[in-house]
């Protein structure tokens, strides 16, 4: 096949008429793909990957902030070192003054380590004894 013949064939291909059936096929394909894409539309989720990462980062940040604040916090001042300035000489040992000093003192902790074995030989008062007492 020579070049001229080939060009003639190519020009003939270029002049091919488009039948109505081709337009219909294209329209149908267009409608089908639009319908599929609308069905496949992803649902909006509240917990997305970005939000999850942001929340995790916030938790880690809060943890380390708390840790660093705790490490650098000063211990509570002892009562002996506190200089309490009297506002009035007349009420030096007043109720509120005593209350404030008491509040600044460390509170005793609750004794939780009770040994029940010590009570094994303890005297138990019977009901009868109670009754005729």
């Amino acid at each position: 096949m020579n070049e001229e013949k080939l060009k003639q064939i190519l020009n003939e291909i270029g002049r091919t008429d488009i039948p109505p059936s081709a337009a219909l096929i294209a329209e149908r394909a267009s409608r089908n793909i639009s319908a599929v894409l609308k069905i496949e539309q992803p649902k909006h989720r509240f917990i997305t990957a970005a939000r999850f990462v942001a929340a995790a980062a916030l938790v880690v940040l809060a943890f380390y902030t708390g840790l660093s604040v705790g490490r650098h916090a000063k211990p509570l001042p002892l009562t002996e070192n506190i200089v309490a300035y009297k506002t009035s000489n007349a009420n030096a040992d007043s109720f509120w003054q005593q209350k404030a000093i008491a509040a600044m003192q460390s509170r005793p902790t609750v004794q939780t380590d009770i040994s029940y074995t010590e009570k094994l030989n303890a005297y138990k008062q019977y009901l009868k004894e109670k009754r005729y007492e």
Partner: protein
């Protein structure tokens, strides 16, 4: 880009290019089955490459999409022995009109097998009847390069069809 926005853009581009895609793909296939398959591939490619179709190279990219869809549809229709699986087209080579149709289909098949740049150039030049300046603009090259692509494509087609013994009349 949000999905709803992509969908909106896709509908807009689809309406814009449906005429061009229908025309080009029909000319390159001239068969309802292959055309149906090719147009579906083309729409899918438009959906997957929306970002490229709103850029400055959109004009050239739609050609690429059309040719890629055409090649893919033809590949699916060609058997292991490289014969088109539509014997009704090649049935009666004795009748003059059928031979012409046969030749046209063979050329169409060979266009689908051309390298991308050559296929783009030949489709723009002969299927769309564009000038070399337009082809050069869309391929982002000089006019001489565009001529070279067309010339190479014709040579490739001639070489590929040399063994077919098509009548010169």
């Amino acid at each position: 880009m949000r999905y709803s926005k992509r969908l909106e853009l896709f509908e807009k581009l689809k309406n814009e290019y449906i005429g061009y895609l229908t025309s080009t793909l029909w000319k390159l296939t001239c068969d309802t089955d292959i055309f149906d398959e090719a147009i579906q591939y083309a729409f899918l490619a438009v959906w997957m490459n929306l970002e490229k179709l709103i850029g400055p190279q959109a004009g050239a990219y739609i050609y690429r999409i059309a040719l890629s869809a055409n090649s893919r549809a033809w590949r699916n229709r060609i058997g292991k022995d490289s014969q088109v699986l539509k014997p009704n087209v090649l049935k009666n080579p004795a009748a003059g009109e059928t031979v012409d149709e046969e030749t046209l289909n063979l050329v169409r098949k060979e266009i689908a097998r051309l390298p991308e740049q050559q296929a783009l150039a030949i489709v723009m030049r002969y299927i769309d009847q564009s000038d070399y300046s337009v082809i050069a603009g869309k391929l982002d090259c000089s006019e001489d390069t565009a001529r070279s692509h067309v010339s190479k494509a014709i040579n490739t087609l001639r070489n590929n069809m040399a063994h077919l013994n098509i009548s010169e009349s």
